[in-house]
């Protein structure tokens, strides 16, 4: 029986443009913490080792700081060995981070880079079959190649790979896709016993064998991830496999579409934002569509400004947003305009309905509302 932690896609060194300086720093720190937590979990849970299935680093060109902090985080649990697989973000090409002076000088003993497809004995009786990426664009199925020629053996074999599975990829022509069928065939005949994969940031079990997994990123990295923030604790023996998903991550990416057509909608949005937990670790993106009056828009702006301060980030998804601000009668009465000012207001409302100047006219109306309000 062997017990280990399957993780991947740490993407250390990743920056997010929507995070202001402070939030980016916390985001970086959280992902290092996740590494430490993985080590601690492995130690406390009696895991023999940790396999990190690719994309440990966001890029081969990450800074020294990222490298030494990552090594330091892993060194925190010296009893746990981390097997690092080069993935598509950090392939083992001539510019690889894994052979950089910083990495080689500061690598602790419990960190092992899987540099070739030669099987590695992780613990007695357990063999890792790595399929490291040697360039950014391999022209073959690296996992299939690593498994080529393996004969059934006494040892438990764990395939450590990175990349998209053919069964899940829409890009059929990609020569580097990993063939699921062959893996399952090998699993069935007992040549290999578990396939630990990276690349997909959502924790995903694939196929019918219960033995093919994407661990997912331990901390979320983007809005489109279905189930990030986990590692898989795998127990494996002759009798079978017992995978267990453990939540590790603390950050969330939330993307929402909101239709706003009146005060009620703004209230609902306010309630939703209010109800978010751990706001300082939440990154929210809103696509706002609909039509608001000047007063409602002013209210919305206040609401968003407030939550932008609370949340790690609050973005408006410009591409998918279409919020028309059109003054209604009550707005206009509120402004108390008369004479030529009222006529000018009428002109702007006409312009705001459609045409080239509609956007500028809506902004102008908002500005007018603000200026007229301010004089009261």
């Amino acid at each position: 029986m062997v017990k280990f932690i399957h993780t991947a896609d740490w993407q250390l060194g990743m920056t997010r443009h929507f995070l202001a300086g402070e939030a980016q720093a916390r985001f970086d720190a959280a992902r290092l913490d996740a590494v430490r937590r993985i080590g601690a979990l492995a130690a406390s849970d009696g895991c023999a080792f940790v396999v990190v299935c690719g994309d440990v680093f966001e890029s081969n060109q990450v800074g020294r700081q990222v490298v030494v902090r990552a090594l330091d985080a892993m060194a925190a649990t010296p009893e746990v060995t981390f097997y690092l697989l080069p993935g598509n973000h950090d392939p083992l090409d001539p510019s690889t981070v894994y052979r950089s002076p910083t990495f080689t000088q500061h690598r602790p003993d419990n960190v092992v880079v899987l540099e070739s497809s030669d099987p590695v004995e992780a613990v007695p009786g357990v063999e890792l079959v790595p399929a490291p990426w040697l360039s950014k664009r391999p022209l073959i199925d690296l996992v299939a190649e690593a498994c080529e020629g393996l004969e059934p053996a006494e040892a438990i074999r764990i395939v450590v790979g990175h990349g998209a599975l053919d069964a899940m990829s829409p890009d059929r022509d990609n020569p580097a896709l990993i063939g699921l069928e062959r893996l399952e065939a090998s699993l069935e005949v007992g040549v290999i016993h578990f396939v630990a994969l990276g690349d997909r940031h959502s924790t995903t079990e694939v196929g019918r064998s219960e033995r093919v997994w994407y661990a997912g990123a331990p901390e979320a990295t983007d809005y489109d991830e279905a189930d990030p923030g986990n590692v898989v604790v795998v127990e494996l023996d002759g009798a079978g496999v017992r995978p267990r998903v453990e939540a590790i991550g603390k950050w969330r990416f939330l993307s929402r579409d909101w239709e706003l057509t009146g005060d009620r909608d703004i209230e609902r949005l306010a309630e939703w934002l209010e109800g978010l937990a751990d706001k300082e670790c939440a990154i929210v993106k809103l696509a706002l569509v609909g039509q608001l009056s000047l007063a409602q828009k002013a209210r919305l702006d206040d609401l968003l400004a407030h939550h932008a301060d609370l949340l790690a980030a609050l973005e408006t998804w410009q591409r998918r947003s279409d919020l028309a601000v059109v003054p209604d009668e009550s707005d206009i009465d509120d402004l108390g305009l008369s004479g030529f000012a009222r006529e000018a207001l009428g002109d702007l409302r006409d312009l705001a309905r459609s045409g080239d100047q509609a956007v500028a006219a809506r902004d102008a109306l908002g500005l007018l509302y603000r200026l007229a309000e301010a004089r009261r």
């Binding site: 081969n60 060109q61 108390g336 004479g339 006529e343 500028a360 902004d363 102008a364």
Partner: protein
């Protein structure tokens, strides 16, 4: 606002004065200078503006000179719904009271009173309007600026019938301010927006730069991979090149051996060739000797034949030379004869010419001698004759006098006519007179006459006194004539005339002689002529004596000339004959000389040819002694045979070398060596590049480019978002501003109509029915039209401008006032520039305005506003 009354106490020079105003209509306040008219307007301003504690200069100035009391002002006003009495004392024991009567009663003092009054005024009085409607004494006579909100509001009411908000101007100012945040006044983006754009550009460049660096790394990594693969290929290439080089080296050695053999055979062949050539050249020389002997013999024969052929030519030349010499001698003799004959003919001709010349000279000499004689005679005559033309003239004149005197004496004298009745003999004045019967005789008695018939009668006739005078004159004239005639040596007038004629003939003869002498003498004197004649005659005689008799002397000059000419022609012919013969002789002599030389040369040649033949014979004999002809032929055949043998061996060796293809082999060897070198260099280069690339990757891989890129992109995106936001705000501000500006201008234009209409209504009272004005968008008067003539306001006279200023204020006040708002029009000593006619009409206009608003007129010229019909007049005492 309406002012009901005002009271001043201890205000400047005024101790206490109260003035009440007509609240709807015109109040005229009259008074001399310095009685405090202006103080009334000033006090109204001070009380509304300054607190009782104010130390403002304007306030300090109104304290009365030299009295320790505080100035006081009290006014009663209506403004909006309010009516109140407001009083203030400054300087001493300051005090403020406000008593509001309507709409509800309020009583306040001190600061509260002041604040409340300010509040009321702020609520109801447009301060700008208040300023605009006042014309202070001595201020600039400018046209008012009516860009004031209350007028706009009132005009808007008049124009559109709508109601205006209170603070649109404020909003407009904010809109302008918002636009100015993004745009310069001329509509260019402000500098900070450009700066932002520059920052964005810079950020984009930075992103591109980092991306490029990352791309460089990627391309370096790719190159490393490629070079690692290349390494194997390069090694194989190098090994193959080295193998090729060795194989070719073997072939080169074989070639060297063959080339040695070839060189040896070539030397042998050359020796055989040389030997053959030697024998061959000897045989050739033998042939040449034979040939030269042949040719020497031929030459001798040929020359001898030629010598024989040339003998007659020489003989002919000798004969021709002799003949030519003879001919030349004959020609010379003929020439000499002709020359003698020609000389004789010339001398004969000259002789005849001299004959003619001497004859002519003799004639000239004769003529000169004759003329000299005639000249002498004429000169002798002239010497004797004394009557010249001048004397003749005087004699003529004297003669005329005599004739005249005679006539005159005769007419004055008595006439005695005696008629003979018988033959008579009588004496008259002593003269005997016979008178036959029947005849008569007349006597003129100039003085006295006595007729005596002897014996018969004696008659004495005495002429009168006049007749005697005439007689005396006659005598005098006759005496002068006689004297002149004596002078000329003549008896009387007739003779004088003849003498004069003879003299002039003598003069003519003298002149003729002189001319003849001059003509014939010419340059010679008579003596010289004579000498020449003598000389020529001598020569003629001598020639006749000397000349031979044959041929005969020609008969005359003509014949002599002909003969001379013929002789000359003959001489020329002979001379030409002689020249020709001399030429012929020279040529013949020359030909003879040439023929003789030819002969000599030919003889020399024959001798030379004979010597050459002898030498050739000797050379051939010597050569044959050395090697007979048969031996020579045998040697030549054997040398040729040896040569053929070596040639064939050499051909075989050459073919073997060519077989080995030395040209290509050399190229192949060079190529193989170069290929090996190049392969080694490429391999080395590849290794060097690999090292460089790996070192570079190591350095750059750790510089954190990934984070730099992320950061740069984030920064760039932030700037882009900021810029987008700023730009959309700028567009919004611009659009808002433009829209408002357009509508505002439109509404301004609507305001214009009622304001213009009101100004024109009042103006027509002053200027007549053709008065029109034009306003700009800011309600300023810009042009005035009168009687169809339009002028810019600046072009108008000071008086007209001042009148327009007052009219505009009246119009403004009239428009604003109906709603209880507005402010009074205050005219402090205005219209000083207006003539009496205009002033009267202005008065009517003020009166018309006074029906719609409050007008307060301050003046020190009581009559000035007499025409304001319905005015309340207040006269201030001194």
């Amino acid at each position: 606002m309406r002012v009901h009354r005002i009271r001043l106490g201890n205000y400047r020079g005024v101790t206490d004065r109260e003035v009440s105003f007509a609240t709807d209509g015109v109040t005229i306040i009259e008074g001399d200078n310095e009685v405090g008219k202006t103080s009334i307007a000033e006090a109204l301003r001070l009380i509304l503006r300054f607190q009782d504690s104010s130390r403002h200069r304007d306030v300090s100035r109104v304290q009365p000179e030299g009295r320790d009391v505080g100035a006081e002002v009290e006014v009663e006003l209506t403004t909006g719904p309010y009516r109140f009495v407001y009083s203030k004392r400054w300087h001493r024991q300051p005090q403020t009271t406000l008593e509001v009567a309507a709409p509800r009663h309020e009583q306040l003092t001190g600061r509260q009173a002041h604040d409340r009054a300010e509040e009321i005024l702020k609520e109801t009085l447009d301060e700008a309007l208040w300023d605009a409607l006042r014309i202070d004494q001595g201020t600039e006579l400018s046209l008012p600026d009516f860009d004031v909100s209350s007028l706009g509001r009132a005009l808007d009411v008049a124009a559109a019938g709508g109601d205006l908000g209170d603070q649109d101007d404020d909003l407009w100012n904010r809109i302008c301010a918002e636009r100015e945040r993004y745009w310069t006044p001329v509509g260019r983006p402000r500098g900070d927006r450009k700066d932002a754009e520059n920052l964005l550009d810079e950020a984009r460049r930075h992103v591109a730069d980092v991306e490029r660096q990352l791309a460089d790394i990627a391309s370096d990594a790719a190159e490393v991979e490629r070079r690692v693969i290349d390494r194997g290929g390069l090694e194989q290439g190098r090994d193959a090149a080295e193998r090729d080089e060795r194989a070719l080296g073997e072939r080169c050695k074989e070639l060297e051996r063959l080339e040695g053999e070839l060189a040896r055979l070539t030397a042998e062949h050359q020796a055989a060739v040389q030997k053959r050539d030697r024998v061959d050249s000897e045989a050739t020389r033998r042939n040449e000797l034979l040939q030269s002997l042949d040719s020497a013999e031929g030459k001798v024969r040929e020359l001898q034949a030629a010598g024989e052929r040339s003998m007659p030519v020489l003989a002919a030349a000798v004969a021709r030379d002799t003949a030519a010499a003879e001919e030349l001698a004959a020609a010379a003799a003929s020439l000499e004869t002709a020359r003698v004959e020609q000389k004789q003919a010339n001398e004969d001709r000259d002789h005849h010419r001299r004959l003619i010349e001497v004859e002519q000279l003799r004639e000239r000499h004769g003529r000169v001698v004759e003329a000299q004689k005639a000249l002498a005679a004429a000169e002798a005559h002239l010497e004797a004759a004394r009557v010249d033309d001048e004397l003749l003239g005087r004699i003529e004149a004297a003669n005329l006098e005599v004739v005249g005197a005679e006539a005159s004496a005769k007419s004055a004298a008595a006439t005695l006519v005696v008629t003979a009745l018988a033959d008579l003999e009588m004496t008259v004045s002593g003269e005997a007179v016979e008178l036959p019967v029947g005849s008569d005789r007349e006597f003129t008695v100039a003085n006295e006459a006595r007729l005596t018939l002897p014996g018969v009668v004696q008659v004495d006739v005495t002429a009168g006194g006049g007749s005697q005078g005439k007689a005396v004159e006659l005598q005098a004239a006759e005496a002068r004539l006689a004297q002149l005639c004596e002078q000329g040596g003549v008896s009387g007038f007739e003779e004088a005339r003849r003498a004069a004629k003879q003299r002039s003939e003598a003069e003519r003869a003298r002149d003729d002689a002189t001319r003849t002498i001059n003509r014939d003498q010419r340059d010679l004197t008579v003596d010289v002529l004579a000498q020449k004649i003598a000389g020529l005659s001598g020569r003629i005689e001598a020639y006749a004596a000397e000349r031979p008799a044959d041929p005969a002397l020609p008969s005359d000059f003509e014949e002599a000339k002909q003969r001379a000419s013929a002789a000359e022609k003959l001489l020329a012919d002979r001379d030409s004959d002689h020249s020709r013969c001399r030429q012929g002789a020279a040529e013949a002599n020359e030909a003879l000389t040439a023929a003789r030389q030819e002969e000599a040369v030919h003889a020399a040649r024959v001798r030379d040819a004979e010597v050459g033949r002898g030498e050739a014979q000797e050379a051939l004999a010597a050569a044959r002694r050395e090697r007979p002809d048969a031996d020579l032929r045998a040697s030549l055949a054997s040398a040729q045979q040896a040569l053929d043998g070596t040639k064939s061996a050499l051909g075989g060796a050459q073919a073997a070398v060519e077989e080995a293809d030395p040209g290509s082999l050399k190229l192949l060897v060079d190529n193989a060596r170069a290929a090996a070198t190049r392969a080694a260099a490429e391999l080395e280069d590849n290794e060097g590049s690999l090292l460089t690339l790996l070192a570079r990757l190591e350095v750059q891989g750790e510089s954190g480019l990934h984070e730099q890129l992320s950061e740069a992109r984030s920064h760039c995106e932030r700037l882009e978002r900021d810029q987008e936001r700023t730009e959309s705000r700028a567009q919004a501000a611009q659009l808002l501003h433009d829209t408002f500006e357009r509508r505002r201008a439109e509404s301004r234009r609507r305001y214009l109509a009622p304001f213009k209409e009101r100004i024109e209504r009042f103006g027509r009272i002053v200027f007549g029915p053709t008065f029109e004005v034009e306003l700009d968008d800011d309600l300023r008067l810009v042009r005035r039209t009168l009687e169809g003539t339009t002028l810019e306001v600046e072009q108008l006279s000071v008086g007209a401008r001042e009148q327009l200023g007052v009219l505009a204020r009246l119009a403004c006040a009239a428009i604003v006032s109906p709603h209880g708002g507005g402010a009074p029009v205050v005219l402090d000593d205005a219209l000083g520039w207006s003539d009496p006619g205009r002033l009267a009409r202005m008065g009517a206009a003020i009166a018309a305005a006074g029906r719609e608003c409050q007008v307060i007129v301050l003046t020190c010229t009581p009559g000035r506003y007499a025409q304001v019909g319905n005015a309340k007049v207040v006269t201030l005492p001194d």
